[in-house]
Amino acid sequence: MSDHKTIKITVLRYRPEEEDAPTEQTYEVEFRDDWVVLDALNHIKDHIDGTLSFRWSCRMGVCGSCGMMVNGEPKLTCAAMLRDYYPKEVRVEPLVNFPIVRDLVTDMTDFMDKLKAVKPWIIREEEKPVSEGEYRQTPDQLKDYKQFSQCINCMLCYAACPVYGLEHDFVGPAAIALGHRYNLDSRDEGIQQRQHVIASKEGIWECTYVGECSVVCPKHVDPAEAIQQTKVATTTNRFKSLVMPWGNKT
């Protein structure tokens, strides 16, 4: 055993039934070259301390459950290789800018409400019956919004966003990107219904374009681009609505 390499994992602990404020705890685990940070957390939970709580599921970077701060950066812990930190200690904390429920588990209720507020579904003035078949959509039309449909709701962008950290009314990067995704979809006619949320003061205009959301996004959604595109389109539309009061999607 003695020649096994080990690595120290320090995690933030918070047990609301026992303590008023977060503390930290350090575990020493075997270092394995093929492990991700999440594997080390699972090793701790299974074999050292079953009281450590965190969320995870797919372990392949698509379910969006296991976002945490790793050495101060928002990361999917299932995609953060331990070897990228070894031999230094790894610090794991819950995503910042969210209330902590317990240990590494945060409260994402606020995002769920904001997601619903941007109406992330296809809105049509008249629904086409299924019997009439699919809507035609060319690969180019698909490309217009595809990138913004890749959001896995992992919350890393909210943890990275300095504006959300200060101003919790801000709709935030992921929800705006998803609203924008539907606005850009050739099948959708709901832009007007989303604008009072997305183009509001708490929407795009709150963003100071720091761009950290796009830097940390594990799926290259580029929410900052969605916000920028919406700002431009909204400005254009405001102008257009003066001369063409019926509005229109661009």
Partner: protein, 568 residues
């Protein structure tokens, strides 16, 4: 005690559950729908499905051909009336999903694209690059947000089904965040909790797939059907089990052994890489026995070679494969072959239902991988399962809503008492004792014995050992001790409860496999190598008893296709 009541209650919020919830609310206007899920619905394992969704969309295809491919793929153990309904309704369901915003990949003319898939005679698999499940799940979840009739219980974990006068009338559930057990009343309950791949050590399945809903049904006397049929996907990454989609072969990828040969020419010459999964997974074992495989730290493997497809096709149609291999094994498939080996992927068996998703227990329904509606028989064809979630999720939602319209709620006082009893049971079992057995140790031993006895090839002796071991593990489980005795977000407790479900499903699976003395589809018995239609052209039904499960049988429904030899 104020008990929430819903006309229809979903247990599970993945592809099948969300489709059922929407169908229920559209069938019975004014119906009140609840969705209980132990994770936020968009975390459900549907999210990991990659390759696509099958439906007849083109002129060169027809419903009978899709039906025949499915029936042959199932090794004739599916119910043919179910298959006929499935292929017909699949078409409307994928179009419905298109109308709900699913970003299907498209042809130049704007039609949804279709690709080739294993065991399908023509291109009929719709796809959204290689993140089809992800896009389907998010389209369904985001669409479900517009239905005010749907109330969600996110991160609530169902611990039992409530039964009164022989019918299901609700559930008890742990609110993971508060640690309290609540009763939720319902006229109809639909189980959509997915499969049980995590009872095996090496699987593409997410951590949440522990057979919860199967065990919940099993515990109230509902049979689990055809549990012995477990699909190994032929191409998972060694070690992690991360799925390399079948679409990578559908798009033209090759499987190559250590001799540099496309070895499938020996086993499925007519289909090669597009053969069905059961046969491809067995072919790997044959190659392993011939020492024609590569050796690595995580076991032997062969190569999935995509290099000849070129960067453009890979990026356009298989971007997730490239992302995963780069991140997890440091390999770029544009330049290097990918190491792959068979890995547990899908449970053909599950909660026994009829063609509408109704179980034999009044008020209880099931759909998706948790259910066995008998679409997949002994081996599922790739890309039929996402469609299954849509077609049979919708059917179950409709039928459950109709049932709810004609039914009254059970007495809330008695449900409140049942919830109190459940809280006591859980506190006594997990907090009241100083048990010495760790969850992870029993779980690891279970996974090991499942692989040894109920893996790709099975024998009487190995299965008997597995059955014995599971019996011992169930005894050890009674002496379980958990570290965490607090209430708020106690995942130690959730894991312990999940382990109880895993043991129940494993028991039913191993005993069903022991008694099926033939080889059919994914169930390959080295001691009974032939399919035996005379004795086993029938479904197994596992019933829980105080001792070993009781296994009964049910005839297979044949309509227009006589069983024939299954060669490709």
């Amino acid at each position: 005690m104020n008990i929430p009541m819903h006309d229809v209650l979903l247990v599970g919020g993945g592809g099948a559950g969300l489709r059922a919830a929407i169908a229920a609310s559209e069938t019975y206007r004014g119906a009140d729908i609840g969705v209980v899920s132990k994770v936020y619905p968009m975390r459900s394992h549907t999210v990991s499905a990659e390759g696509g969704t099958a439906a007849v969309m083109r002129e060169d295809d027809n419903l009978d051909l899709h039906a025949y491919d499915t029936i042959k793929g199932s090794d004739f153990l599916c119910d043919q009336d179910v298959v006929e309904a499935f292929v017909k309704e699949a078409v409307d369901e994928v179009i419905q999903l298109e109308h709900w915003g699913c970003p299907w990949s498209r042809d130049e003319d704007g039609r949804v694209s279709v690709r080739a898939f294993g065991g399908m005679s023509v291109k009929r698999t719709l796809y959204a690059a290689d993140k089809t499940g992800f896009h389907m799940l998010h389209a369904l979840f985001q669409t479900s947000l517009k239905y005010d009739a749907i109330t969600r219980y996110d991160e609530w974990f169902v611990t039992s089904l409530l039964v009164e006068d022989g019918r299901v009338c609700g559930v008890t559930a742990l609110n993971i965040r508060s640690g309290n057990i609540h009763a939720i009343g319902a006229k109809s309950v639909i189980i959509c909790t997915g499969g049980a791949g995590k009872i095996f050590p090496f699987t593409t399945n997410a951590a949440i797939k522990n057979g919860d809903g199967m065990a919940l049904a099993y515990r109230i006397g509902c049979p689990l059907k055809d549990l012995e049929f477990v699909q190994y996907h032929p191409t998972g990454l060694p070690g992690t089990g991360i799925l390399m989609t079948e679409a990578s072969r559908g798009e033209g990828g090759h499987l190559v052994n250590s001799q540099g040969e496309r070895y499938l020419s020996e086993y499925v010459p007519g289909k090669m890489e597009l053969g069905p999964r059961d046969i491809l997974s067995r072919s790997f074992i044959h190659e392993e026995r011939k020492d024609n495989v590569f050796k690595g730290p995580d076991g032997s493997y062969v190569h999935l070679d995509l290099r000849h497809l070129g960067e453009k096709i890979i990026d356009e149609r298989l971007p997730f494969v490239r992302e995963l291999t780069r991140n997890y094994v440091g390999i770029d498939p544009v330049y290097e072959p990918i190491p792959v080996r068979p890995v547990v992927h899908y449970c053909m068996g599950g909660v026994h239902t009829d063609i509408n998703g109704a179980t034999p227990i009044p008020g209880l329904y099931a759909a998706g991988e948790a259910a066995c509606v008998s679409l997949n028989g002994a081996n599922r064809l790739g890309s039929n399962s996402l469609t299954e979630c849509l077609v049979f999720g919708a059917r179950a939602g409709q039928v459950a809503a109709q049932h709810a319209a004609d039914t009254d709620f059970a007495d809330s006082a008695s449900m409140a008492r049942m919830a109190q009893d459940e809280q006591k049971r859980i506190e006594t079992q997990f907090f009241g004792t100083n048990g010495k057995e760790r969850v992870a140790n029993i779980r690891d031993d279970l996974r090991k014995t499942m692989e040894e006895g109920a893996g790709i090839f099975r024998t009487e002796d190995a299965l008997k050992t597995t059955c014995d071991t599971i019996r011992t593990l169930k005894e050890r489980y009674k002496n379980i001790g958990i570290d965490d005795h607090s209430r708020v977000f106690n995942t130690d407790l959730v894991n312990a409860l999940e382990l109880g479900y895993m043991l129940d499903v494993a028991e039913g699976l191993a005993h069903s496999a022991l008694l099926r003395r033939e080889s059919r589809g994914s169930h390959a018995r080295s001691d009974y190598e032939e399919r035996d239609d005379e004795n086993f052209l029938k479904h197994s039904l596992a019933y829980q008893t105080d001792g070993d499960p009781r296994i009964e049988y049910l005839p297979v429904t044949l309509t227009r296709w006589e069983p024939e030899e299954r060669t490709y």
